[in-house]
């Protein structure tokens, strides 16, 4: 189980504790081997960070940035963001309208016409054995035999 005072360790190494808090925590550390060990590890971590590389921007970085800004400026006419937002909105609206219209058109073409509506969806429309099928040929043969 970790010591409940451990969160103070982080502030201790950053010198962010008040003098009283610091004094109390140092007294605690003398009696708590876990906090003592954690302090050593955090100090080692801090040294590692201090020794870590500091990187410089690559040569010509600012020129690239300014060139990109220049290209971006040329691509953006005045009032660009507002215009783009408006254009985006119009495109979305147009897509919704096209979607609704084509959907309603599709539904209207599939809808049964008055009078033969029930026939359109009737199972009688479906032939169990169409004349051109093997089943149809078999039925035709058996029917002619019966007739004889």
């Amino acid at each position: 189980m970790s010591c409940s005072k451990r969160p103070l360790l982080s502030q201790y190494i950053d010198s962010a504790l008040s003098p009283e808090e610091k004094h109390t925590f140092e007294a605690h550390m003398n009696a708590c081997p876990e906090c003592g060990r954690a302090l050593g590890e955090l100090e080692a971590l801090r040294r590692l960070f201090a020794a870590s590389d500091r990187y410089k921007a690559p040569p010509g970085f600012s020129t690239w940035v300014m060139a990109n800004i220049g290209a971006d400026t040329a691509a953006r006419p005045a009032g660009f963001p507002l215009f783009v937002k408006f254009a985006e909105g119009m495109v979305v609206l147009a897509m919704v309208i096209i979607g609704v219209l084509s959907g309603s058109l599709l539904i209207s073409t599939l809808q049964p016409k008055a009078g033969n509506g029930s026939a359109l969806f009737s199972l009688e429309l479906f032939e169990a054995a169409p004349p051109d099928s093997v089943g149809g040929a078999y039925l035709a043969m058996t029917e002619t035999r019966h007739e004889k």
């Binding site: 969160p7 500091r54 940035v65």
Partner: protein
């Protein structure tokens, strides 16, 4: 850059003299690139992110109100940009080139260490980079701002727009997680 000089540059920029922006880039490019490089651990991603930071800054500088310093403002953009860069689409990560080392570093060594020590320290530095990568972007941001950029709790709070208590607790959690991860890495090697 002096505060008064900074104000004057921003005033000129707002008046239409956009050429002064290059001065701002030159002044902050190393600090911003260094932050991005530590946040992203890839030179190309860091360069892309740093460029994005300045491009965003250019387009938003007109709205800059001097509530925060320019440097705080740029760092805030940089942290958010790096967090966004980490959410790259999967296919982009497939084609990412991963180089070994980078030439553009500042040499800290004042005396030549032994090859064994150099190897050990290089291993530890790599373990730190790997451990940092495992932290969540929010924890990584606070620990880099604290340890690499050496900022105060107050500066970090202002930069990230979070409370002082949140900064303290995130730094504690970041250190605790890093300590555990470093232990794991050193035990494995």
């Amino acid at each position: 850059m002096q505060k008064s000089e900074e104000r004057e540059l921003i005033r000129r920029f707002k008046d239409g003299d956009t050429s002064v922006f290059e001065r701002i880039v030159l002044d902050y490019q190393d600090r911003i690139y260094n932050l991005c490089r530590h946040m992203l651990d890839d030179p190309h991603d860091a360069e892309d992110a740093a460029q994005d930071v300045f491009i965003k800054a250019y387009w938003n500088l007109k709205n800059f109100t001097h509530d925060a310093s320019l440097y705080t403002w740029l760092y805030r953009i940089a942290v958010n940009t790096c967090i966004d860069h980490q959410r790259k689409p999967f296919f982009e990560s497939l084609f990412k080139w991963s180089p070994e080392g980078e030439a553009q570093t500042i040499d800290h060594a004042s005396e030549a260490p032994s090859p064994e020590r150099l190897f050990a320290s290089k291993q530890m530095a790599q373990a730190l980079q790997k451990s940092l990568k495992k932290l969540s972007p929010k924890l990584r941001a606070v620990i880099i701002l604290k340890e690499v950029e050496e900022l105060s709790y107050e500066e970090i709070a202002e930069m990230l727009d979070i409370s002082l208590g949140t900064v303290k607790s995130r730094i504690y959690r970041a250190r605790d997680e890093l300590r555990a991860l470093m232990k794991k890495f050193t035990e494995q090697s």
